[in-house]
Amino acid sequence: MSIFYFLLRATVLLSPSYAFAEPSIADLATSLNTVWLMTAAALVFLMQAGFALVEGGMARSKNTVNVIMKNYMDCCLGGVIFWVIGFGLMFGANHTGWFGTDLFMLNDGSAWDYSFLLFQMMFAATATTIVSGAMAERARYSGYLIGACIISGLIYPIFGSWAWGAYSSGTGWLKELGFIDFAGSTVVHSLGGWCALAGIMVLGPRLGRFGSDGSSRNIAGHNLSLVALGGFILWFGWFGFNGGSTLVGDASIGKIILNTHLAACAGAAGVAVFSWLLNRPILLTSTVNGSLGGLVAVTAGCASMDVQFALLTGLIAGGVTLVGPALLNKYRLDDVVDAVTVHGFCGAWGTLAAGLFYAGDLFNGQRILVQGIGITVAFVWGFGLSWLMYTAIDKAIGLRASPLHEQRGLDYTEHAEVGYPEFQNNKLFNSDNLAARGEI
C-alpha cells in the first residue's frame, strides 16, 4: 500500500502541471489509473515467463529451448504486429461492429492511449503464446512464427473488436448484444485454445504419442519444478490480468483479485477432489493445470460474480482440466501442455459461468444465450481461421518438423543450441558437425 502511495505521489510530483498548480481530482485519477494500468501490464508481461516455464518444463529436454524461444518471440513479434495493425483492428473506430478502422501504428495519441495500448498488447501476446505449448516438440519454428504473427495481427484483434471494441467510437456487435467477458476468458483464452486445437490437428501427434492400438502414451515433461514455478508466476501475473482490466485504480480491484485467487485455489482443489473420486493419482501437472483452468474460467466473470460463485466456477474448471485431456486423447490429438483444455474448454466454461452466475440476476436465460453465442462464434472464428491458416502454412513452407529433427530434438535442429549442454551428453545427435553437414 505504501509503495503504491509513493508511486502515486511521485507521478503527481513529477508531472509538469504540479509545478504550477495543485493537481485536480481528475489529474490524480488519471495518474492513479495510469500507475495501476502499467503495473498490471507489467504483471501480464510476467505471465510470458510463466508460460515459458510451464511449457518448457512440460516438454522433453531436447525441445526446451525451442518452446521457450517460441514464447519469447510470440511476445516480441506479436507486440510489433499488434502495434502495427492489431490494435487498430481491435480498438479503432468500429462503426460496422466488425472491425476497427483507425489507431494503426499509434504514434500521436494521448498519454492514456499509450497506456491502454501497452496493456492490450500484453493481452495479445498472451492469446498468441497459448498455442506454442500445445504444438510443442514437432512444429517448425518458421511456420509457427508466421502463424503467431497472423494470430496477433488478425485473428485475435478482429474477434476482440466484436466483444470489446471500440476504444474510440462505435461498438462491436457481440458487445452490443450484451456479451460479458470482463478480462477475456473467451476473447483471449478460448480463442488461443481454439487456435491451438487447429494447430495440433494440422500438425498431428508427436512420433509414437499414440500406439497403433489407439492407446495413449504419456510423454513426461523434463522438469516439473519449472512447471510449478511457471504456475505460480502465471497465477501472480493473473492478478494484473484481471485486476488491470478495470482500467481504473478503484475499489473494485479487491473483489476481482479475490475472485481470481479463490478460483485458482478451487481449480487445484477440484483436481484433487475429482482425482480422488476417479481413483487417480493427484499429479503435479494436473494440479497446476487445475489452478490455471480456474484462473482462465473466472476471467470472464471475476468482476460480475459473487465470491462463492467464483469459487464454484474454479472448482468445476478443475474437473474440466481432468476430463479435457482424456477427450483429446480419444481423438488422438496431442496437446503437450493441455492448452486446449485449460484455455479453450475452461475459457468456454468460464464464459458460460459469467452468464449463469451474474450477481443479482442469476441464471438469466437471455444472458446465457448471448454467452453461448459468444462462445460458439469464438470457436468458429478461432478454430476455422486457424485451421485454414495452419493448413496453408503447412502446404507452403511446411509446419511439421521432419522425423529426423524429432529424433535429434528441435533445440539443436532449429536453434543450434541445447538447453542443458553439460547434461544432455549429445544423446541422440552429433553436435560436432551438424552445421558443417548443412543439416541445421
Partner: protein, 230 residues
Amino acid sequence: MHLHSSPLTVPKANSTGIEDKESFMMKKMTIANALAPHLSEDRLEEALIIWEHKYAHQPTFALQRFISEFCDNNVQGQRSKILQALFLALNNSTVTQAAEEPAPVVNKNIEAAPVTQGGATAIFEQLLAAILSGLNHDLNQRVRLEAQHQLKHLKANAVVRRDLMAFFSQGYSLPTSFYMEIKTMRECINLVYIALCEVLGPVKADDVLHNAIQRIEKQPNNRFSVRELL
C-alpha cells in the same frame, strides 16, 4: 547370406579386403543406378545377382553378354540404350575415381587414415543390431516388423532395400557388397527410430537408441564414429 552369430558381429576384413570391397560396391552401385531407369525392381534385383555371380570380375566388354543374359522380350528393344547407359556410367565412374584418388603418401599413418565406407557400414550394422538386441523377444519382433513397414519410405535402390529387408525379416547380416551413402544410413536409422517410437513410445525409443549408441561407443577400435549416423 548368413545368419547372425551374435547381434554385434559383422564380417571383418583386412585393409586390402576393404579396398576391394569398396571398389566392388562402387561398381555395383554404378551398375544399379544405370539399370534402374530401364528395369522394374524385381528385374533389377535379378540382373544384379547375375552380374555379381558371373560378371563382377570380368572386363567391361563382357557386359554385352551380361545384358544379353537378362534382357528378355520386354526390354529387348532397349538393349542398345541399356548397354550405352552402362558403358557411360562405368566410364564416368572410372574417371571420377581416378580424379578422387589421393596422391601416394609415404609412411602413411594408419591411425590418421580417412574414414572408409566399409567402416561406416560396419558401424551402421552394429548399431541396428545393438538397437534390436536391447529389446525382449516380443518387442524385437514387433520393431523388426514395424521397421520393414517404415523401410518403404527409404530412398534407396532395390538391392539396398532387399538387403535391409532381409536383415530385419530374417536376421541376415548385411552382405559384404552392401553399399549405402552415410546420409541414407542416417535416414534408415531414423526410420528404425520411428519404428521404435511406434512400438515402444518416444520415451523408451530415446532410451533404446541412446543405450545402443553407448554400447557401440564402448567398443574398442571403432573406425567410424557412430554419432555420424545420427
